[in-house]
């Protein structure tokens, strides 16, 4: 039996431990915000936080998660207030098709923990999620804006 928390709720799992976390989230927990894009940790559409670290859930077997704390896009807002990265995404009106954006936001949220005042170079070196629509102009702006929001709010 594997026991782990998703967005604060405990899940006990006794199924196939090889199943990637992505499919547990989408199919078992019905949390569809985490997206399937490539299945080989290349595109980042499935990015979630595992114990606070941004990881690609398509390549994490559920069996490796005993005791872990998982946060998905559905759990990023706290007490009904959107995370500053989500607000920045709204303010910059980032999405086009929108499919990659949950993963982009999860990646950016963790990135800003490590780079609270990021340069463009920091973004280039650390944000590796794919966007086929090419919304990178606004993703970059939104990351900078989120950094400002987070700084202003302490």
């Amino acid at each position: 039996m594997i026991s782990f928390a998703v967005n604060g709720s405990t899940h006990n799992f006794d199924g196939d431990e090889d199943m990637p976390l992505l499919w547990f989230l989408r199919e078992d927990a019905q949390l569809k915000g985490t997206k399937f894009g490539c299945g080989i940790a290349q595109c980042g559409a499935c990015t979630v936080h595992v114990d606070g670290e941004a990881m690609r859930s398509c390549s994490i077997p559920v069996g490796s998660l005993n005791g872990a704390r998982v946060t998905t896009i559905e759990g990023l807002a706290e007490n009904g207030a959107l995370h500053p990265v989500q607000r920045a995404w709204l303010e910059e009106d980032v999405p086009q098709c929108g499919y990659c954006q949950a993963g982009q936001i999860m990646a950016a949220a963790e990135f800003l923990q490590n780079y609270p005042e990021p340069t463009d170079h920091d973004i280039d070196d650390n944000i590796t999620n794919l966007c086929r629509c090419g919304t990178y102009v606004r993703i970059r702006r939104a990351i900078h804006r989120a950094a400002q929001l987070m700084k202003a709010e302490g």
Binding site: D16, M19, W23, E27, L31, K32, G33, T34, K35, F36, G37, C38, G39, I40, Q42, C43, A45, T72, I73, E74, A77, L82, Q86, W89, L90, D93, V94, P95, Q96, C97, G98, Y99, C100, Q101, A102, I105, D120, I123, D124, D125, I127, T128, N129, L130, C131, R132, C133, G134, T135, Y136, V137, R138, I139, R140
Partner: protein, 746 residues
């Protein structure tokens, strides 16, 4: 692809009803169609709903693939309705079927797909009429309430005012009464362009909050009662077949319910089957079990009749170009003009097959049980989906319900209904609803690729540097793939004689060589235009360089500065205007500082293209390092799409289109070896990440008074040649083959 097509009789297509004390204007299902109750509370084909609490919901009839129509189409309705757009909610309209002319069943065009950058102009008049109709009903209700003529009333952001008495009522207060009024006959007068308060003003996209909070809006997110999960092992060989399958291990896995063979249609078989790959479907209780069971299948694949090798095919194309092809267009006398030319310039450009790779892999829910047929699919063409599924299910097309859901990217891939057909075949075979899911590998190996080809360009110039002769000789695949009687279509899908510089050079020839391939091809964002713009706009630059002319000056000389319509016998026509293009080019050049000296290692390149009625020019600035690596620092863009409905959406499409096109130009290529597609996933197919993207896209909207046109595709074609022209400007090295990759390093 007309979206809001209200002809011939608007009253047949717009219906009014009172729902919950509000006003609803909707498109009805016509005779023979499913009853309205099928859509829950009767909100079928919703255009406008005004609730008594003053909230307003506007339906959007187009497939949303990221081009922003769920915002821009409702803007058109809201403009004439006269409401605060920031407070309006929008939703996707369901796809409607109905009886067409002569009572023949057909899919009506109320809700439609996404293709040809058509949504905004296809809806421009009809959507505004729908908004005007709703406002008209509200005004009539207000006139009765106040006992004054309609002409004495005015509206402002959801409120009706009677200026003479100072009285006012909100739309919500009038909605129930308005629902009892009848629609007027004939067209309602619409606002003049100068009076618009929503059209032409930047509006944020409506669905962003749902996206940033992870709401389940996409096809892949949908569930269906009782649906089993299906995946398919498809032939890795183009035109391959299943020779033998051992499914014993898969069948033995708990939760596996069915194994279903999918046959590839042979020559002359039902084209509705849409060139399916031969395969074996596994149907299971969960997606994960289905995926594991697919891995447990032991399939002996028979290769297709041709063990195609794309590199060898390109070599053959270069050989073919040495001979004479099919002359598909000739103005003047090219051969004679070339003989008489003082200078001849020649170059060849190569473009690869490329994949669509929308980030949401293909998926479809199908429920085919007897006469009850339901499809839930992220599709750009719900009409085609409904027709194909009706054929498979053997039912009246009117009884097919297609639920349109948000698409995780489209780019043309979702015009093709093979995932819908597969899901329908599986559901029919097992008699249960099924959700089919493709993997990324499935998607990349079984695409309808953008055609590749080799463009041989020849120009003759007179002693004054004037271009007197021009030939565009193309050896390429065709976008037309295995359609009956397509011979003429082969070249027409790849060459546009009326494109620049056609009609602008007196002796002008187009010649075509058809390259067969077993790889399916199809529409890819701005089809035809991406390859041709690369060849033409690169070659104009080469001609300018060879004859010592400024690349901007030569382009403007060819375009002329006269505003005049000339023929455009292709999508986006019937005319185009070289003068409008010249204005767009000049605007981009002025904003970019064209002509100024650049420091070493920097380069600046220009390109333009007319795509689907919209004029776009782009100027790329690059920095090249001594080791040949480079970065696109800035793209200055100017676009004239007629009336700019949502300037925010237009900027978004330019920013995204520039980066999508750069991604494609930098590294994307599909190759075929031994009859198999070599690329499998994003580790072997190089999609650009943020580190190589253009951060600075400086976009300028040029409004020339032209008719409204789309922006989904036009930003793409000029980008690759703008970048390669800039690389030439920086280094003197000409990139004639896409993708660019590391050609500057060699």
């Amino acid at each position: 692809m007309a979206v809001f097509d209200l002809s011939p009789d608007r009253r047949t297509f717009l219906k009014v009803s009172a729902v919950g004390g509000g006003l609803m204007i909707f498109a009805p299902q016509l005779s023979g169609a499913k009853p309205a109750e099928a859509e829950g509370d009767g909100q079928i084909g919703l255009y406008v709903k005004i609730n008594s609490d003053n909230s307003v919901i506007i339906g959007s009839p187009g497939s949303e693939i990221g081009q922003g129509t769920q915002t821009s189409l409702p803007m058109l309705v809201a403009e004439e309705l006269d409401v605060d757009f920031a407070a309006v909610e929008t939703e996707l309209m369901p796809f409607l079927t109905g009886a067409g002319e002569n009572g023949r069943p057909q899919q009506l065009a109320f809700t439609s797909g996404a293709g040809g950058s058509d949504a905004i102009w296809g809806s421009y008049d009809g959507a505004r009429q729908a908004g005007a109709a709703a406002r008209h009903l509200i005004l009539r209700a207000a006139a009765r309430r106040f006992d004054v003529p309609v002409a004495a009333l005015s509206t402002e952001k959801g409120t009706v005012r009677h200026a003479a008495s100072g009285r006012s009522l909100t739309y919500g207060e009038l909605a129930a009464d308005a629902a009892r009024e009848s629609l007027p006959e004939g067209e309602l007068p619409l606002k003049e362009r100068r009076d618009h308060t929503i059209i032409g003003k930047p509006q944020k996209h409506k669905d962003v909050r749902a996206i940033v909070t992870g709401e389940p809006r996409f096809g892949i997110d949908q569930d269906y009662p009782g649906a089993l999960h299906a995946v398919i092992a498809r032939s890795p060989y183009l035109d391959g077949r299943v020779r033998n399958v051992d499914d014993s291990a898969a069948r033995a896995m708990p939760g596996v319910r069915h194994i279903v063979a999918i046959a590839r249609p042979g020559p002359g078989e039902n084209p509705a089957l849409n060139n399916l790959a031969a395969g074996v479907a596994v149907v299971a209780d969960s997606l994960w079990i289905a995926m594991k069971a697919r891995d447990a299948l032991r399939i002996d694949w028979a290769p297709g009749p041709v063990r195609e090798d794309s590199r060898a095919e390109y070599a053959k194309a270069y050989e073919a170009l040495k001979g004479r092809g099919q002359v598909v267009h000739e103005d003047g006398a090219f051969d004679r003009a070339l003989d008489q030319a003082a200078q001849v310039v020649e170059a060849q450009y190569e473009v690869p097959l490329v994949s669509h790779s929308p980030l949401e892999p293909q998926n479809c829910i199908a429920d085919i049980r007897g006469d009850c047929v339901t499809i839930i699919a992220p599709t750009q063409s719900p009409g085609r989906a409904a027709r194909l599924v009706a054929e498979i299910a053997g039912v009246d097309p009117l009884s097919v319900e297609v639920r349109v859901v948000r698409c995780g990217g489209g780019f043309g891939r979702r015009l093709y209904q093979d995932p819908v057909v597969e899901a329908a075949l599986i559901s029919k075979a097992i008699g249960k609803p099924v959700k089919l899911q493709w993997s990324r590998e499935d998607d990349m190996a079984h695409d309808f690729y953008r055609p590749g080809g080799i463009h041989h360009m020849i120009a003759g110039l007179d002693g004054n540097g004037r271009v007197t002769a021009w030939a565009h000789r193309l050896a390429s695949h065709s976008r037309i793939f295995r359609e009956a009687d397509a011979a003429e279509g082969f070249w027409r899908s790849e060459l546009v004689p009326d494109d620049f510089p056609g009609q602008l050079i007196p002796n002008y020839r187009m010649e075509y060589f058809y390259l067969p391939s077993a790889a399916p091809r199809g529409f890819w964002r701005a089809p035809i235009s991406t390859s041709n713009a690369f060849a033409v706009q690169s070659f104009v630059d080469e001609v300018a360089a060879a004859s010592g002319q400024d690349p901007l000056g030569l382009r403007l000389a060819l375009l002329g500065d006269q505003m005049r319509d000339i023929r455009y016998d292709n999508h986006g026509g019937p005319n185009w205007n070289p003068g409008r293009m010249a204005n767009v080019v000049k605007k981009a050049a002025a904003e970019a500082g064209w002509g100024e000296n650049l420091p070493g290692g920097k380069g600046r390149g220009l390109a333009f293209h007319f795509t689907f009625g919209t004029y776009v020019a782009q100027i790329a600035d690059v920095t090249v390092q001594s080791n040949g690596s480079f970065k696109v620092e800035r793209v200055v863009a100017a676009a004239d799409c007629g009336i700019p409905v949502n300037p925010n959406g237009i900027r978004a499409q330019m920013e995204g289109g520039v980066n999508d096109a750069l991604s494609t130009a930098l590294g994307q290529e599909i190759t075929i070896r031994d009859g198999q597609v070599e690329q499998a996933n994003f580790d072997t197919y190089d999609m650009m990440r943020i580190d190589r993207s253009v951060a600075n896209v400086d976009m300028h909207i040029v409004e020339s008074g032209g008719p409204v046109r789309g922006m989904g595709e036009p930003p793409v074609p000029p980008l690759a040649p703008a970048v390669t022209n800039a690389l030439f400007n920086a280094t003197g090295k000409r990139i004639r083959k896409l993708p660019i990759r590391d050609q500057l390093r060699s």
